[in-house]
C-alpha cells in the first residue's frame, strides 16, 4: 500500500491554493510541498507527483530532467492545467477551444478508468447551467495515449500516456481533478476515484504491468 508520504502534491503558494494546506482529504492522503522545494526533495521513495494548474511551469521546465528521470524510474505524474512550455515528456502545448455555443464545451467520457466511473458528463460540462468550468481546450496526445474525456470534436481533454517514458503520465487540460468535491454532484466522485486510480497505477508500475 502506498503511503501518503509517497504521494506528493505541489503547492504553487497561490491564494486560491491556501485552503489545500488544511484540507483533510489532501492531508490524509498525500503530502503537500512548496513547488520550489521539488528539486531539493529526495524523490527516491516518492511514487506519484500531482502537479496543479497554478504551478510555475518555467520552474518545471528548468527541472525537466528531474521530471523525466522521475518518470523513467517507473513512477507516476498527474498534471492538470494548460501546458505552455516543454517540461512534460510527450505532451504538446494547450490549444484553446473556439467557442460559438455553450454546447461546444460539452464533454464525453470515452473511458472512465475508474476515475470518472459514475460521473454524469453533464455534471462535468455544466455548473448551475453554465458550461466551460471543466475544460476549455485540449493537449494533442502522444502516440498510443489512452483518451478518457473529449470535447465535441474529439479533442482529448484527459489522457493517460504509458509509452513515452517507463512511468505513467495522466494529463488533463482543465482544472485540478483532485479538487472536485463537495459540489453535491456526481463530479464529487472524481477526487476520491483519482486517488484510488493513483494507488492502483502505482501497484501496476511496481508489478511491471501498467494498468490497461
Amino acid at each position: 500500500m502506498t503511503t501518503k508520504e509517497e504521494i506528493l502534491i505541489l503547492d504553487p503558494g497561490n491564494a486560491f491554493g491556501l485552503e489545500r494546506r488544511t484540507n483533510p482529504f489532501i492531508n490524509d492522503n498525500m503530502t503537500l510541498i512548496d513547488q520550489y522545494d521539488l528539486d531539493k526533495t529526495d524523490l527516491s521513495s516518492i511514487q506519484a507527483l500531482i502537479i496543479p494548474e497554478f504551478v510555475d511551469q518555467r520552474f518545471l521546465a528548468i527541472h525537466k530532467g528531474l521530471i523525466e528521470q522521475f518518470l523513467n524510474d517507473e513512477k507516476l505524474i498527474v498534471f492538470c492545467g494548460h501546458l505552455y512550455i516543454d517540461w512534460l515528456p510527450g505532451a504538446s502545448h494547450f490549444i484553446p477551444k473556439t467557442i460559438n455555443h455553450h454546447s461546444d464545451y460539452a464533454l464525453t467520457i470515452i473511458k472512465d478508468q475508474g476515475i470518472f466511473a459514475g460521473v454524469d458528463p453533464d455534471d462535468m460540462t455544466y455548473n448551475k447551467g453554465v458550461s466551460g468550468f471543466f475544460a476549455r481546450g485540449h493537449h494533442p496526445i502522444p502516440t498510443d495515449a489512452e483518451v478518457l474525456v473529449t470535447l465535441p470534436n474529439n479533442e482529448p481533454v484527459t489522457y493517460i500516456d504509458r509509452n513515452t517514458t517507463k512511468g505513467t503520465i495522466l494529463a488533463h487540460a482543465g482544472k485540478d481533478l483532485i479538487w472536485y468535491y463537495k459540489q453535491n454532484k456526481t463530479t464529487d466522485r472524481i477526487s476520491e476515484q483519482l486517488l484510488q486510480w493513483i494507488h492502483s497505477e502505482i501497484n501496476a508500475l511496481h508489478q511491471g504491468s501498467k494498468n490497461i
Binding site: 504553487p12 503558494g13 497561490n14 491564494a15 486560491f16 491556501l18 512548496d34 513547488q35 520550489y36 494548474e53 497554478f54 504551478v55 510555475d56 511551469q57 518555467r58 520552474f59 492545467g81 494548460h82 501546458l83 505552455y84 512550455i85 494547450f94 484553446p96 477551444k97 448551475k128 447551467g129 453554465v130 466551460g132 476549455r136 481546450g137
Partner: protein, 201 residues
C-alpha cells in the same frame, strides 16, 4: 507612455494574458518572480503584480515593493491578498459571489464610487463586473474607485501610504482572461492596461 513591468508567476494564465499582443505592447518587461530580487527597477514607472502569486516570494518582495513606491513608483496589485505584503493592506476575505447573475433581479453588488476618475474614460463598471473574492479597507485619504454596497473597496488608489501610488483591486482579470474564461475580464484589461500606460492616475 509609462514604462510598465509585470511580475510573472510562471503559471499558464499569466503566460497567456501578458504575452497577448494587445496587452504586451504596453509592457516594457516581464519579470519572472523568482528573479525579482535581482532585477533593477530604476527604469520602470509601474510594477504590476497579477493575482495568485507565490506567498513566499511576495513576502520576500515586500520591502523592495515599498522602496519602489517610496521612490515615486506606481504599484498595481490584482486579486485576493491573504498575505500582508502591501503597505497598509487591510484585506477582508468574503465568500465569492460567483452566481449573483443567475438570480432574479440580480445585482452585482458593485458601486462606482469615483465616476470622475480618468480610468472610467477607459472602462465601465460593467467591464469590471464578474465576481469579488473579498474587499479591502484602505487608509484614510485613499480614494475608493469601486466599492461594494457596504463601502468595502473593490478597487482603490492610495497616495498616502507611500510617496508613490498604490492601485489595489480585488479583481483578478489576469487569471480569468489567461484561463480563457469570462469575457468581461478581457474588456477590463482592454481599458485598464492602456490607462495604466498613458491615463491620468
Amino acid at each position: 507612455m509609462r514604462k510598465i513591468a509585470v511580475i510573472m508567476s510562471g503559471n499558464a494564465p499569466h503566460n497567456r494574458t501578458f504575452n497577448e499582443p494587445k496587452f504586451n505592447k504596453y509592457i516594457t518587461q516581464l519579470i519572472y518572480f523568482p528573479e525579482f530580487e535581482q532585477t533593477v527597477l530604476e527604469e520602470f514607472d509601474v510594477l504590476l503584480f497579477p493575482s495568485q502569486l507565490n506567498e513566499k516570494l511576495l513576502m520576500r518582495a515586500a520591502n523592495k515593493v515599498r522602496s519602489f513606491a517610496n521612490n515615486g513608483g506606481i504599484v498595481v496589485a490584482f486579486g485576493p491578498q491573504p498575505w500582508e505584503w502591501l503597505p497598509n493592506q487591510k484585506w477582508e476575505e468574503r465568500e465569492t459571489n460567483f452566481w449573483w447573475w443567475l438570480e432574479k433581479g440580480a445585482k452585482s453588488g458593485l458601486v462606482l464610487a469615483a465616476p470622475h476618475y480618468d480610468l472610467f474614460n477607459y472602462l465601465t463598471l460593467t467591464d469590471a463586473t464578474w465576481h469579488q473574492h473579498g474587499v479591502f479597507w484602505p487608509p484614510n485619504g485613499a480614494e475608493k474607485l469601486i466599492t461594494t454596497e457596504d463601502g468595502g473597496a473593490v478597487m482603490y488608489v492610495d497616495k498616502v501610504s507611500t510617496k508613490g501610488t498604490l492601485i489595489i483591486t480585488t479583481l483578478d482579470p489576469d487569471y480569468h482572461f489567461g484561463a480563457y474564461f469570462m469575457p468581461a475580464t478581457e474588456r477590463f484589461l482592454d481599458g485598464f492596461i492602456p490607462w495604466l500606460a498613458e491615463g491620468k492616475i
